[in-house]
Amino acid sequence: MSENTDCTRRDFLKLAGTAAAVAAVAATVPGMVGEAQAAELDLVTKRQTGVYAADANPKLYKARKSQENPMVQKLYAKDGFLHDGPTGHKAHLLLHTHYFDRSAGVKALKAKGIKLKA
């Protein structure tokens, strides 16, 4: 068997894409990326289908609304750990947070002439 025969079409496109990029045959490059991303989406679709099937399967999940989760109800019950309810005082201390302006680093990069996409 020659070395070439175990090339799949995908291998070929990707590797040809690499070669083409170097050789500046730009037309093959989007083709290569498109192929890679199409394969990716097949996998994502399969996983997403699994997610919605599980949501609708009472053997896996008895309830389908968060407010109907018995352990959630226990957590927020009148005598429960978070008795002042969602967004209450204790919930705020434990379950809410704050964010920070981190734009300085990005601005510094742009000031150096580095092009970013956002």
């Binding site: 040809a16 990029a21 050789a23 699994g50 896996l60 959630v72």
Partner: protein
């Protein structure tokens, strides 16, 4: 460097690292073929060609949101992860004085099976719980529980904003469970920080509840607890290290590992995953609903939140919970949901930061018609996260043709330079 499920992992995190100054992924110049796939999938522009040979590099952590999309899409396996906490987890599991707590995210269970030859999308939640017990986790808690809690907190917050929007809590409200997206807002759209829900992500909540409520309920000393966040995501490693996430009085999340690292651990421990019997999580912080598991996909948080908001706003029971109008395979999806006694609730769902950017610009311009916007960094949501089992068709195999083309490349490169 260690190979874990086809991704190279550099090693443990240095003590007290500042996650903002740290690159969670980087390119191995020796393996990079300069094909440019990574800078196509990177929507911030953090990964770019450098030097004459145009090999790629994550230029600066300031511009990178740690999503790992570059890594999972690299055909040559040239991008590695800087840190792995697997050694720490194995060490904690061996220590009789440490109570190791598991906190797996919804999306993990839809990809983990692939590492053991099961078809993509198989729900392996029950086997995963069994495997965690076999590995020695003492408390098998589950992040799906706090996905439900997130709906209660973030949903209630939304209802408060709808009733009385304010300068500090304006509309639209953005989801805050995706750490790639949160860092994107902080770095690229700081003026939209008030629009981000103040609710922590499900894992932020579970870490804090584990060492307070969970410790009390199970009579465990929180100082002896070691909480392991198990994620489809590399950005969650960054989130776990945020200094402010210590509401329990301890580090809420001690360490974060990915789906790939969990698969690696299960194999290393010699556990026959496929033959495991399904087990449930420990109920206190483990029981969950279908609304929680759909957090794994783009549109899921929105659908789960609407299942609550509809009932609160209308006072009626929602009979058909399948809100297919917000299920988003990819890209942007908008919907207007009719809620009796309230009116229209306008929502948008987007995955991919290029799509997020469009919605951000709309909000910035004051032109957004939406009440609530869900954003996930990874196209399709966390099922396609940067920490998931690799898509076998992305990697170019080590087949003979690779060598052939490598040769051609070299010759072409020489010609191009000549």
């Amino acid at each position: 460097m260690q190979d874990m499920e086809k991704v190279m992992m550099k090693g443990s995190a240095p003590k007290n690292i500042d996650p903002t100054k740290f690159s969670f992924v980087q390119v191995d110049a020796a393996k990079c073929q300069a094909c440019g796939t990574c800078d196509d999938v990177c929507k911030t522009g953090a990964i770019q060609a450098v030097g004459k040979d145009e090999k790629r590099k994550v230029l600066d952590p300031a511009a990178c949101v740690n999503c790992g999309q570059c890594l999972v899409n690299c055909p040559y396996g040239a991008i590695y992860e800087e840190i792995s906490f697997v050694d720490e987890v194995f060490k904690a599991l061996k220590d009789p004085n440490t109570v190791v707590v598991s906190m797996p995210a919804p999306a993990v269970r839809y990809a983990l099976g692939e590492a053991f030859g099961l078809p993509a999308g198989t729900h392996v939640g029950g086997k995963m719980h069994a495997a965690l017990r076999k590995l020695g986790f003492k408390l098998v808690w589950d992040n799906e529980f706090t996905a439900d809690v997130t709906i209660m907190e973030e949903g209630t917050e939304l209802l408060n904003r709808v009733k009385k929007p304010s300068h500090g809590a304006p509309l639209p409200q953005f989801t805050s469970c995706c750490p790639g997206w949160v860092k994107f807002v902080e770095a690229f759209y700081p003026e939209l920080i008030p629009n981000l829900s103040s609710a922590k992500s499900p894992i932020g909540m579970l870490g804090a509840l584990a060492k307070t409520y969970g410790a009390k309920q199970t009579k465990t000393d929180p100082a002896k607890m070691f909480t392991v966040s198990i994620m489809p995501c590399i950005a969650k490693k960054y989130e776990g290290l945020r200094p402010e996430l210590a509401a329990s009085g301890y580090r809420d999340t001690d360490v974060t590992i990915t789906t790939r690292e969990l698969a690696y651990m299960i194999k290393k421990a010699g556990i026959d995953f496929k033959s495991l019997k399904d087990e449930a999580a420990d109920p206190i912080l483990g029981e969950a609903t279908g609304a929680a598991t759909i957090f794994a996909t783009s549109g899921g948080v929105m659908e789960a939140a609407l299942r609550l908001a509809y009932e609160v706003l209308s006072g009626d029971k929602l009979k058909d919970v399948d809100l297919k109008g917000v299920r988003a395979h990819e890209g942007i999806k908008t919907a207007s949901v009719d809620v009796p006694k309230f009116g229209k609730v306008n929502v948008a769902v987007a995955s991919g930061l290029d799509n997020a950017k469009k919605l951000c610009d709309e909000v910035k311009a004051g032109k957004s018609p939406h009440h609530f916007i869900e954003i996930m960094t990874c196209p399709g949501g966390c099922v396609n996260g940067g920490g998931q089992i690799l898509n076998p068709s992305v990697l170019v195999g080590d087949s003979g043709c690779r060598k052939v083309f490598a040769e051609i490349n070299k010759r072409l490169a020489m010609k191009a330079q000549a």
